[in-house]
């Protein structure tokens, strides 16, 4: 007897200015689909419907619309950048479908037709700054790609620095894909911040890290031990190709390949058995988890209708490579741990801070304290933000 098949959209850019994370998202989704189809845990198959916008933001809505129409599918796993996600949201809302978005993002969104299977700012930037400030100091340089992720993550960082007795000494943006970053490094050399918050993506980020590494060799005061670069979205695959240029810098994530848990060991063992080669990053793991959440919810509810899937996925915990998660029925986000990793020259991370427990999602940052790193200073303006202590 043939197993029933449910189509599932896989919408990632495998070329263009953020192809590395795009490929990781694609590979994670496809690995999960293969695992489900090969396994006995589910009595149905998932049929991937694949489209590749090639990093062109204007292609996302068109391709998503096409796959929804042609295959009558209800679930799309995809998008890496916030820009592309914003393009897809009106399409899934109009077509009564769900977008499973498997990448860290800046927050300030909670669409009923999106499930956010990765961290928002209170689950990445906030714990990262909380870790860095007491260890390296409170003078931040902010760099970012010129779009919503860079702008908003740096805005939150600026606010957090203000509330934490720190300061922002410089803030610079370059267009997505631009590798002309000499002026960024020159300014940082002059301003001598305690650390650099890197919200650049793709080639801009790689060029920056290489130039910063060159600066560190010229002037030991810019060695990562003294003034590290910290990121919320720089993972194994990318630091692998950077080698020594990434070594010593910090990343926050719910998932690292080095995560010393039974769930992660089993996940990596299964992937190896299935023939997956190359590094496994958070983009991979989150995309993998998104497909598993969909499959488990279809199994529990007996249908791929979005109400059925959402009801099942918000009711019960699902196993992911980094532990059990459940979707928050109110915000459609998930509680996630924030581990701190330090890049090694061989492309892996040493986990320097293993998070004890998951942080509840707060996409609008209305429940999160921004006084970080043991700061006791009063905020510098009368317009104080929320001063509750982060748990």
């Amino acid at each position: 007897m043939t197993r029933p098949r449910f189509p599932i959209g896989v919408l990632f850019s495998r070329s263009g200015p953020y192809e590395a994370p795009g490929r990781q998202g694609f590979d994670g989704a496809m690995a999960a689909i293969a695992a489900i189809n090969a396994g006995k845990r589910h009595d149905f198959d998932l049929m991937p419907v694949i489209a590749d916008p090639q990093g062109n933001a204007d292609r996302y809505a068109i391709l998503c619309q096409e796959m929804l129409r042609a295959h009558r599918l209800r679930h799309v796993v995809g998008c890496t950048t916030s820009w592309s996600r914003k393009e897809v949201i009106p399409v899934v809302e109009k077509n009564d479908a769900l977008l499973w978005y498997p990448c860290v993002y800046e927050g300030f969104e909670a669409s009923e037709n999106v499930v956010y299977v990765a961290a928002c700012a209170n689950q990445h930037l906030v714990p990262l700054l909380d870790f860095i400030l007491p260890r390296f100091g409170r003078q931040a340089a902010l760099v970012g790609s010129n779009y919503i992720w860079g702008w908003e993550t740096n805005r939150i960082a600026r606010e957090a620095m203000l509330h934490s007795g720190g300061a922002v000494v410089s803030e610079r943006y370059v267009p997505i894909g631009d590798t002309d970053i000499g002026h960024l490094v020159a300014e940082i050399r002059q301003k001598r911040p305690s650390f650099v918050l890197n919200n650049l993506i793709g080639p801009s980020s790689y060029a920056f890290l290489r130039a910063y590494h060159a600066l560190g060799r010229e002037d030991p005061d810019f060695h990562p031990d003294r003034r590290p670069v910290i990121s919320c979205n720089l993972y194994e695959g990318e630091i692998g190709s950077l080698g020594a240029a990434a070594a010593g810098h910090f990343t926050v994530s719910c998932y690292f390949e080095a995560l010393p848990t039974a769930a992660n060991r089993a996940f990596l063992r299964d992937l190896a058995a299935a023939g997956t080669t190359g590094p496994v990053t958070a983009f991979f793991a989150e995309s993998y988890a998104a497909v598993m959440l969909i499959a488990d919810a279809i199994a529990a509810g007996g249908s791929d209708a979005i109400e059925t899937v959402l009801a099942a996925a918000t009711r019960s915990h699902a196993a992911t490579p980094w532990g059990e998660i459940a979707i928050d029925p109110v915000t459609h986000h998930v509680a996630l741990p924030a581990h701190i990793g330090r890049a090694r020259a061989d492309g892996a991370f040493d986990i320097v801070e293993l998070a004890g427990q998951a942080i509840a999602p707060d996409p609008f940052l209305t429940r999160t304290a921004l006084r970080l790193g043991g700061a006791s200073a009063r905020p510098a303006t009368a317009q104080a933000g929320n001063l509750r202590v982060v748990s």
């Binding site: 809302e93 300030f108 669409s111 805005r155 109110v330 609008f364 317009q383």
Partner: protein, 199 residues
Amino acid sequence: MMDRRTIPSFDNWRALVAHRPHANVDAILLQFERIGIAAIHRWPDLGPAGELAGFDVLLFDADMGFDAQFPWEPGAAPMPTIALIGSEAPGRVSWALNRGADAHLLKPIGSAGLYSALVIAHHAHRHRRALLAEIADLKARQAAREIVAEATAVLMLRDAIPAKTAFNQIRRLAMASRQSIEQAAAAIVETADSRRLRR
């Protein structure tokens, strides 16, 4: 450069939605819950005036709302207000404007829009209040100019000095006694009046 206006934290905010029970209200209350703001809804009676003032933002229905719902004059709401507009008939839009809406949301309400409306309404309301206070202050100053002129005349006659010298004297008095020029002028006129009465 990007605008550096502070985004309110909405910490401990309370919101009131003045709209009849409807799917749009459910959608708004859900958005409030996601954002992390406590919100309730009432219709048509908004509750006692004293209690109303305790809300940090008011969302009111531009379609079926009416003046008698509000215990304040049009445009004088003590908190930021957001109009919920369904019919874009000019009369209703005009009524919402007249009520002093600081921002608006179009019905049907989906899963987004409230956060930006809250931020915009917060700033618009604060800006408007600051302007009204400044205007009131300027009006008071203008009204007081007469007293400055009178005090200048008093000093000119008393000490036989030119107008400019008289005015400088008032200014120095104001600075020395940490008063406004108008207050210092009023004191001079008052003293002159009482001397006149004693004579």
